[in-house]
Amino acid sequence: MTATQKPRKRIRFSTVMDHIVLTLGALFMLVPMLMVFQLSTVPDAEIIQRGPSLNIGDQLDDNFVKAMFEASGFSGENTGVSMLINSFILGIGFAVGKIILGMMAAYAIVYFRLRFATLAFWAIFTTLLLPLEVRILPSYEIVQSLGMLNTYQGLIIPLIASATATFFFRQFFLSVPEELVAAARIDGAGPVKFFIDILVPLSRTMIAAMFIIMFVYGWNQYLWPTMITTEEDMYTLVRGIKQIIQVFEGTNLPEYGRGNLLALIAVIPPVLIVVFFQSWFVKGLTESDK
């Protein structure tokens, strides 16, 4: 919406201002992460002497080997690889679980005549109101009494107990033309066939958008994994961050390079997904929250 009626000079000035502000904003976002990268390329001794600098060192591969394959922690069981695997299990398990349960429940609510539909609807949608953080301690006790501490089920299932995906798919299913059901019936398709052959393929974009949002959400979980996983071989990367900081504090020659590289590895997968599937992600985010 640049004003075409305005004198040329003025337009230039405001455009330059726009670019300056945007560049400053981009730097505000980017510089901290570039610093983390720089710190993971130089020797620890250099960091201890002079901190972050513009010097890109040659320690990246060394630090990578240390971060990924050398065991750390108290029990010596968590390597970067094991944390990375746990993070993927949490992210993918959470996203897939949430999408499958959400689609099933939304399908039942939208496409079937149910006697207790209203009750089920409210029982499910009340869960949108209270985040896990406010009922964290009783949730922990229940998971503990079910013997699910330090298990993937205990990590993932309680996080799934909310209706965001159900709500999202309900909205989407309501916007699908009704004639489709009628047509499918005439062709002799039952509800299962209709769901799998028509509705699921129609929802592909929505599923992709949900998957990205839910994967990032699951990957970035911190409080719940902190409580549920006490054994180091169950740690995710994000869960392990605090330990890295505590190791920094407690030692004379902290392994800054390794720590920074682990932080970088914890960030790369979700960032890549968000950046590469930007349009789906933005669509899913701005439409699901309405």
């Binding site: 502000v21 039942a108 149910l114 299932i157 309680p158 960030v267």
Partner: protein, 293 residues
């Protein structure tokens, strides 16, 4: 509602069952348990509990430390919400206006969405390192000795700055999509009516963005209250001490570390009430939102 429905009876029940079982066990049970145990005083050694009525709540609101934390949480929430909304709005307006490099700017301004809060806290710990942190050195230029983890205000500043950094991208995405949904015809009409760009912004763009803004206000308050846990925990390095903390962090510290189930549950219930109140406000605003569009 759909008119062409299937009339199967058992299939929808089977479809709903997994979702209902999970929320019954991991949502309603813990929520009810929290309410119940907020009325009991737990024996510290695990030998049963005694009913104390509203005792836990009364001691909560008479506890100076709790009130101090509530006060800090309020200021923290106000400051984080205001600045992350304001910065994101400015950036979104500019990003909506530029033509060259628009897509690059958009990517560079939104990727932080995917960074986990504790990683953001980790970066703050590095930035404010006592002996060589770049931001510590920056403040030293002005003769101020910045001490995160030691000085209450310094730690609060680091938490707030980090929380804003982490939240700007979400607001940016929503504001930009709000701006891009303003119809061309409205923009062109505004251009004829009002020659000054700032005049157009305040009389046309800003009111049209207000519904997005209201919605984001609630999202940001919820973020500052709950999702900043990872930032608080990493910036204080897991050692609360005399450091600032938010209400959610206090629930965690008292319940998980201090083993005070009753007191921690009462705090959880207070937070639940707060969230319910916010949700109520949100629903009211969403109703109003419809009138705008």
């Amino acid at each position: 509602m759909k008119r062409a429905l299937f009339s199967n009876i058992w299939l929808p029940v089977a479809l709903l069952l997994p979702q209902l079982v999970i929320i019954a066990v991991f949502f309603y049970w813990p929520a009810g348990y929290a309410v119940q145990s907020s009325f009991y005083l737990q024996d510290p050694f695990g030998f049963g509990s005694t009913f104390v009525g509203t005792g836990n709540y009364e001691s909560l609101f008479r506890n100076n430390e709790y009130l101090k934390i509530a006060n800090f949480t309020l200021w923290f929430t106000v400051i984080v919400t205001f600045f992350s909304l304001a910065i994101a709005l400015i950036l979104a307006v500019k990003a909506d206006r530029v033509i060259r490099g628009a897509k690059t700017y958009r990517t560079l301004l939104m990727w932080v969405y995917a960074v986990a809060p504790p990683v953001a806290g980790f970066i703050a710990v590095i930035m404010f390192n006592q002996s060589w942190g770049p931001l510590t050195e920056f403040f030293a230029l002005f003769g101020y000795r910045f001490q995160v983890g030691v000085n209450f205000n310094d730690t609060a500043f680091a938490m707030i700055l980090t929380s804003i950094w982490k939240q700007v991208p979400v607001n940016f995405i929503f504001f930009l999509s709000g701006l891009q949904s303003i119809p061309r015809s409205v923009r062109e009409a505004a251009l004829i009516d009002n020659r000054s760009a700032s005049g157009r912004f305040w009389t046309v763009t800003f009111p049209l963005l207000a519904p997005t803004g209201f919605f984001l206000l609630i999202i940001n308050i919820t973020y500052a209250l709950f999702d900043t846990f990872g930032i608080v925990d990493t910036v204080v390095k897991g050692e609360p001490g005399n450091n600032p903390m938010t209400l959610v962090y206090k629930v965690y510290v008292d319940g998980f570390r201090g083993n005070d189930l009753g007191g921690s549950s009462a705090q959880s219930v207070v937070l639940m009430a707060l969230v319910l109140a916010l949700t109520f406000v949100q629903f009211r605003l969403v109703e109003r939102r419809i009138h705008y569009t």
